[in-house]
Symmetry: C2
Subunit: 655 residues, 2 copies
């Protein structure tokens, strides 16, 4: 990162863009800018900020003039790094919280500021500092009497929730992005993703997602290799799946345990493993009546937790149950359709009726996807309405709602076919149709739809992009770059990406013994997913702020829940297989009892295993313990020092 006096007329390196509503009065703009520029001891953010001179709008369109770029001095960024608790590599190779006092002991610190903090880190610092900008005596935003402010509360959050601050996003780094996209997806190769480079550009949260995607794909390879011959040579002999089911059982347990350790190693390497969570601000959408915050003792909007509980249990829960019932109803319609089609085919089988038999499955798969999508919006609306105070609580409730419904919606029919109808041929066909249809739809929705929408929305912009591509060497003026990026879609986080992986993991771990090609399909899907995700991250979306995540969060729990269900399902499938049934020719009861006993033992074993395997590899635990020990020693030395002073002083005063 080099400080440059770019094309748009700024004298500092622009890092973050703020877009205010075009109707914002001068008064509010002036106030905000002065608060951002003010010194820290006066309660400001002490950052550099300038309005973008956009020039005349082309083609007579009226562009929003309220675009601002934010930057900071090198000293300010270092202080910000300390305040936001950034971890950097120390001279001894360990990762430690950066402090200005020890700055020369960190690897790569040269004093001139060149390259020590990556651009993503600088942008994260700026965001952190902007969000930490707090109201003082102001009771409302100047010029907006309804936008109330409370002492000590974040100004930026308030402006966001009131729609005055339209968006805040970090700028892309064209050079860096070109290098990253070249090594990531622009050449076809048999190598791993450049996770460190992804982390440097997009932050740890993104890098962990791509790391998990890659890990999951590689972990699927043995199953895919095992699956192909099964599929090729035993097509009709669908009941020889005991071996695959046992393999599944072990695989999905080991997979997640190893991932936990691998992810801890990655997070340690990136300095986010032992990083402490900051005190969480209320999320922008939170609202309430004025009351006393029991923690800070200050006056601010509060929302009684009883009301929230009531909303959750009296509205959200019944709504979720209703949706589940609806999903069940649709499933029953599908089975009726399926039965009707089969009867038509049986009456007079022609090529057309043969094709017809596949129609209900495909339609059902499309309906499932549509229901998932619709439910997704409903869940977001409901969770928003539940009015959670903290982002983490909002996320947990949203994830829980979405996961339960998606799981039920996608897998209910498969469970019904497997355990109620016990029709393994239909199960195989259903699974194949569901998997293939959902993959095709997902790829369409994820990569091509945003691309197409973007094209339609700003054809003019695309023309500019093309122009830029044509004159690749020539620098684009800052103002145009900002305008271009401001109109790009916003990347909404890894939620949908993880959700898709979650369902794929479900298909593979629950039923792939019935349809061994599933693993192959998922591997193929994941490989294209890497490319399409990388493409959309680099080309289609605004750059997201780095998210210093130490693990994949609630998704670890979600995947582990699936793996527990997978044990039960695979045991049941084994118990139902003709291969096992021959050992109990007389008594079905005996067979069931043995199956249940085995399943309980396996579940117990799984929990013991999860308990025994440490979540963090030993060499990292030793490193963390060493850092803790050293800080303890330093503290002891300090105490000893103080004690000596204290005693000397006492002696002196006594003498």
């Amino acid at each position: 990162m080099e400080p440059s006096s770019g094309g748009g007329g700024t004298t500092f390196q622009p890092l973050v863009v703020l877009e205010l509503a075009s109707t914002t009065p001068e008064e509010a703009v002036g106030w905000l800018l002065s608060r951002i520029r003010e010194r820290q001891q006066n309660g400001g953010a002490e950052l550099l900020v300038e309005q973008l001179s956009l020039g005349a709008a082309e083609g007579g369109e009226k562009n929003n003039q309220n675009l601002f770029v934010v930057g900071a001095s090198w000293q300010r960024l270092l202080h910000g790094a300390e305040e936001s608790g950034l971890f950097k590599e120390y001279s001894d190779g360990s990762m430690r919280g950066f402090t200005c006092a020890n700055k020369h002991k960190f690897k790569g610190f040269t004093g001139s500021g060149d390259g020590f903090l990556s651009m993503a880190e600088c942008q994260y610092i700026i965001k952190h500092q902007l969000e930490a900008l707090r109201a003082k005596e102001e009771t409302h935003v100047p010029g907006f009497s309804q936008a109330k402010l409370y002492p000590g509360k974040s100004i930026i959050r308030r402006l966001q929730s009131k729609g005055i601050l339209v968006q805040m996003f970090p700028l892309h780094d064209k050079e860096e992005l070109k290098r990253l996209s070249f090594s990531w997806y622009q050449r076809v190769r048999l190598s791993l993703q450049p996770l460190d480079a992804i982390r440097d550009y997009f932050g740890e949260g993104q890098a962990l997602y791509f790391g998990f995607l890659e890990y999951f794909t590689i972990a699927l390879l043995p199953m895919a290799v095992l699956g192909v011959p099964y599929y090729l040579f035993d097509w009709e002999d669908y009941d020889k799946y005991v071996l695959l089911a046992v393999f599944n059982l072990v695989w999905c347990t080991v997979l997640l345990e190893v991932w936990k350790r691998y992810s801890a190693a990655l997070a340690y390497h990136w300095g986010t493993l032992s990083r402490k969570k900051a005190f969480e601000e209320p999320r922008p959408g939170f609202h309430g009546v004025l009351g006393l915050n029991p923690v800070t003792g200050r006056e601010e909007p509060v929302f009684p937790s009883v009301s929230r509980q009531l909303r959750i249990y009296l509205v959200s829960l019944p709504f979720v149950l209703l949706c589940l019932y609806l999903s069940l109803y649709v499933m029953m319609i599908y089975f009726q359709l399926e039965g009707w089609v089969l009867s038509v085919h049986d009456e007079g089988p022609t090529l057309w009726t043969e094709v017809l038999t596949y129609i209900p499955s495909v339609v059902y798969a499309v309906v499932i996807e549509a229901m998932n999508l619709a439910y997704r919006y409903a869940a977001e609306f409901l969770t928003e309405w539940e009015n959670h105070r903290r982002e983490s609580s909002y996320q947990n409730h949203l994830v829980l709602k979405v996961l339960v419904f998606n799981f039920f919606n996608c897998f209910a029919s498969l469970f019904y076919i497997a355990f109620v109808m016990q029709d393994m041929l239909l199960l195989r066909q259903s699974l194949a149709t569901l998997l293939i249809t959902s993959q095709i739809l997902n790829q369409l929705m994820e990569a091509f739809l945003p691309y197409w929408l973007q094209r339609r929305r700003n054809k003019k912009m695309i023309r500019k992009v093309l122009k830029r591509r044509a004159i690749e060497e020539k620098e684009l003026p800052l103002a145009e770059q900002v305008r271009l990026e401001a109109d790009m879609s916003t990347y909404l986080g890894t939620f949908d990406d993880y959700l898709e992986l979650f369902l794929l993991f479900g298909y593979v771990s629950l039923f792939s013994c019935i349809f061994p090609l599933a693993a192959v399909l998922v591997v193929l899907n994941n490989i294209t997913e890497v490319y399409s995700d990388a493409f959309k991250m680099c080309k289609l979306f605004k750059r997201p702020f780095a998210d210093p995540a130490g693990n994949i969060g609630v998704w670890q729990l979600a995947f582990e829940t699936i793996s527990v269900i997978a044990v039960v399902t695979n045991c049941a499938l084994i118990g139902m297989s003709p291969q096992v049934k021959v050992y109990f020719p007389e008594s079905a009861t005996q067979l069931i009892l043995w199956t249940v006993t085995a399943e309980h033992l396996l579940l117990g074993f799984k929990f013991i295993l999860a308990f025994l395997i440490p979540d963090v590899p030993k060499h990292i635990r030793v490193k963390l313990a060493r850092i803790e020990f050293e800080s303890l020693e330093a503290l002891k030395k300090k105490v000893k020092h103080l004690l000596m002073h204290f005693k000397l002083n006492r002696k002196a005063s006594e003498a």
Copy 2:
């Protein structure tokens, strides 16, 4: 607590007694005393210590002259309180880590030292300070060339492991003890135990045990009340237990969740909930060859973790399995005996053969207890030999070994009778015999055996005690008190007490629907347990050091495991009951499938419940968050202050 110049010739309040081996050379004694007395800045403990003048031994016996009493100045105790991270009540009613800088802001601090720190706290501080006494340049204990010392390692631990320090224990406070024992067990009453007084005298670990015992007993009352009419009116109608089984199911899940919250409230109230764990020293028994500690980078004895793993998996694990096999073997012998006795009774039933039918169960119960005891010692030996570095790791491995065997040994026969033989009458009889016999044996072993041993061992001492009782008013000289207490048995911690509760919890939650009187028996046992435990803590044992525990540790997990097994067992018992069987007159398979499904749903529900119910009550979470917030604010203020200074300095230097 009043500083007193007691009877034994000390000029300070004696708090802790050190007993060195009688053969310790003068040189070593002198060195240790000087290290204890030395100032802190020179690496000493800065405590007061004096040898006890014991006078002529009575009856010509040779008493150990190497008894020392340790105390400290008031200032030293306050510093020690800060160093050991003691939590005290702050002026605003919250619990905070004590610091000398803020001492006047803590409730009850008067400056004179009277009553602010309880005697148990002072003793804990002294212990902490003694254990933090570290070797400097010494390579071995003077006079003991084989007792090697390593810089920075605890001297006291080394002396303990080499047998030079025979024991270290805190002194009883006779006045306090009299008050405590009066309010605790010396009057029969219908009130709760004085948990706060127990905590003040014995520490948080003890108080939590007694709190759990009381909680468990009260929680059993509804079951006991429900059980009596069941037992009285339906004696032979043993299959009407579905209601009880369902009650059991709910009860054992709710019980532990509520306890977790109650225990958190207690621990918060006592200031141990958010207290951080200190850096753990190697346990006294740990040994190894000289190597580099990867954490501290210092030279000290290390033991490769591979060797430990080998010992665990190649020796301990096979040994445990062998013991389990042995237990199974004994069980089979019991069943043969049982069968033989029944056949004798059936051939010619007389009163004698009637009595004879109870003999095998009683004998088996006694054998189980004996095997548990023998195994307990073996497990301790093995775990010691595994050479764990840290006390917590040693404890976990010991608890795991003992729990698995005891659970198997006690419950294997019951599971066999219930699910293989399916003989509910025999199950009821077996359960009753096991429970009653083990309770009688336990009470004997726990209270009367130590009492009787103590009597035998020091009849002379008992005579003194009697003399003391006769002249209750007159103060016993310190030297005699110390000698008396040094000869008392050492209290070995709450391990055996929790183990007993664990087994009782198992009997009740697993099978009490078959034998509803079990809850009544356990309640009666627990009530006598409170009295006998209180009696032995106060009268029979040396005072233990306070253990600042924040929860019941690994036992919470152990009880939760039982409650999971209880869900499975109760579901199976319900499925086997004739009441349920009538609903599935045709198909046993249907019945089993329904039972299994219900069981899985219940298990899932249980996990969701455990996940949803917060472990710490909300009002305590708010208080903790407030303290965290305030310390964060204080830090911010400090940083702001520093920043201002820094800028002023820069300005000054620039000007």
